[in-house]
């Protein structure tokens, strides 16, 4: 009898691990929504777009960092000719270690990525502009599912009788909230965290004793070595080594988590990037869509 109930419990546990997982065709695990800071923009203005990923509980998508597995969302923008889109600003990731000692940096729950957009100076006043993004992502739990969505947003370029940009309050709140969650610039004072390169090329990060520190390098950063063990510590000190043959700049996110439990994140770059590099604007126009309508 004891054995039977043991078997039953084991069977139920096993079912919990694998049996009740939804099938791939149960509907999307992630909903992506596009937000725009302004509904009406001015020629030459910089405005912001955001994509919010709502990830079902227990599932994760991939942050664009040095990950062992998965793929960060592919966001393929198609903007009107002459419009420029800048570098994606992602919120800080969390570390996800899976069986086989595989380390990934992932996003769970609600995660919003921000993009600056520059309206061309010669945009026709009163014209409409369709912003389009083909989004594709991999979402995983104990299995992975590829999902995609086409996101669209229609903006208007301010005309003669409406010369000022118009914000959209719901979107504005969403974008402001997303911006508050982005990694901050490294504090010049060294408080609450400081980072410096050693002579041997390793990165030393310091915070108050006992603070949990994490370093997550971006995908295109100089390759960090052995992140599984050296990417996080709970002593307030963290030393990250890099591939000496790799000459790319170091870029990533440092996260600190003190006793209060509230995490803060900072973006570290070496050498420091210029504001132009940070904005990362690329002009659109190679593959224009029929977006500019006549007034």
């Amino acid at each position: 009898m004891v054995q039977t109930s043991f078997l039953l419990v084991t069977a139920l546990l096993a079912a919990g691990v694998t049996g009740f997982e939804p099938e791939p065709d149960d509907g999307p695990r992630v909903t992506a929504t596009l937000f725009a800071e302004h509904a009406v923009v001015q020629p030459g203005q910089t405005t912001w777009l955001a994509i919010r990923f709502e990830v079902q509980e227990g599932w994760h998508i991939y942050w664009p960092g040095q990950n062992d597995t998965g793929m960060s969302p592919i966001l393929d923008w198609k903007l009107p000719k002459g419009w420029e889109i800048g570098r994606a600003r992602w919120p800080a990731p969390s570390r996800h270690v899976s069986a086989g000692d595989m380390l990934d940096h992932v996003l769970e729950g609600s995660a919003t990525v921000l993009f600056p957009v520059r309206v061309p100076k010669d945009a026709t006043p009163g014209s409409g502009a369709m912003l389009f993004c083909a989004a594709e992502w991999l979402v995983c739990k104990q299995m992975c599912i590829a999902e995609r969505d086409d996101l669209m947003y229609s903006l208007k370029v301010a005309g003669q009788f409406q010369p000022l940009p118009v914000a959209r309050s719901r979107d504005l709140a969403e974008i402001a909230h997303a911006r508050s969650l982005l990694p901050e610039p490294m504090p010049e004072s060294g408080d609450p965290v400081s980072a410096a390169l050693n002579e041997d090329g390793s990165l030393m990060i310091h915070a108050a004793p006992g603070v949990r520190l994490t370093f997550a390098p971006y995908e295109d950063s100089r390759a960090a070595l052995d992140l599984l063990t050296s990417g996080t510590s709970e002593t307030g000190e963290l030393r990250v080594s890099f591939d000496p043959a790799d000459e790319r700049p170091i870029a990533g996110v440092i996260t600190i988590e003190g006793n209060t439990g509230k995490a803060r994140s900072f973006e570290y770059r070496h050498p420091p990037a210029s504001s132009q590099e940070l904005d990362g604007f690329t002009i659109q126009g190679n593959d224009p869509r029929p977006e500019e309508e006549s007034p």
Binding site: T18, A99, D101, E136, L138, M143, C144
Partner: protein, 247 residues
Amino acid sequence: MISRILHRSMIVALGCTVFAAGAQAQLSAKPQQAEKQIKEKIQQVERDVDSIVKSMKEAKKARIDAPAPDFTLIDTEGKEHRLSDYIASGKVVVLEWFNPQCPYVREHYNAEGKGTSTTLEKEFAEHNVVWLRINSGSEKSRTSGKELNEQFRKEWKITGPVLLDPEGKVGMAYGAKVTPTMFVITTEGIIAYEGALDSDPSPSKTGEEIYVRSALKSVLAGETVEKKQTKAVGCSVKYAAKARPRG
């Protein structure tokens, strides 16, 4: 068994060549001496194959340009496959880490058997290339098990076997982190390519360059593979919780 026979016949064929050459060179020498030299040559050929197999058995961790770690795994039909048997019999071997429910794997298959993976497998089969798919998912993973993998093997018209590695030992030895991860192994038992199947990182389309095709062409032509290593992108291999990489 078959490989053993092939192995022997190769040596006999090589032995004949050696004998012909040896006979010509040794016309004036004593017959016993010539025979001894031929025996030595034959042994050398045999030792070469043996030393290839030996180096594969000794290899613990897969590295590019180094011997491929040997393994024996059971396929979905219960048949045993030993990597070094294929190499000893003169095959070039492609390893593909496989999970029939991973979108990055599914991308390369379809019910017509005309996906990138099955097409390549057929294309190179006549050139002595064997394609071994390996599922290193744990028994608890919903993507492993012989029934599921056999079902997809049939559905996708896969010619070669799907090998099961539920303890993840082979996956760990090869450092396979995602599906698909590809390896191309030469007839010398050397890993000539490791990485992605093709150049596109998304699961929705196949890239312009099929890395595995380029690697196979180079290997078969006896040339160095231009891109020896690429980053494999895909789903994590669903290892058993106790699976640990080898040092």
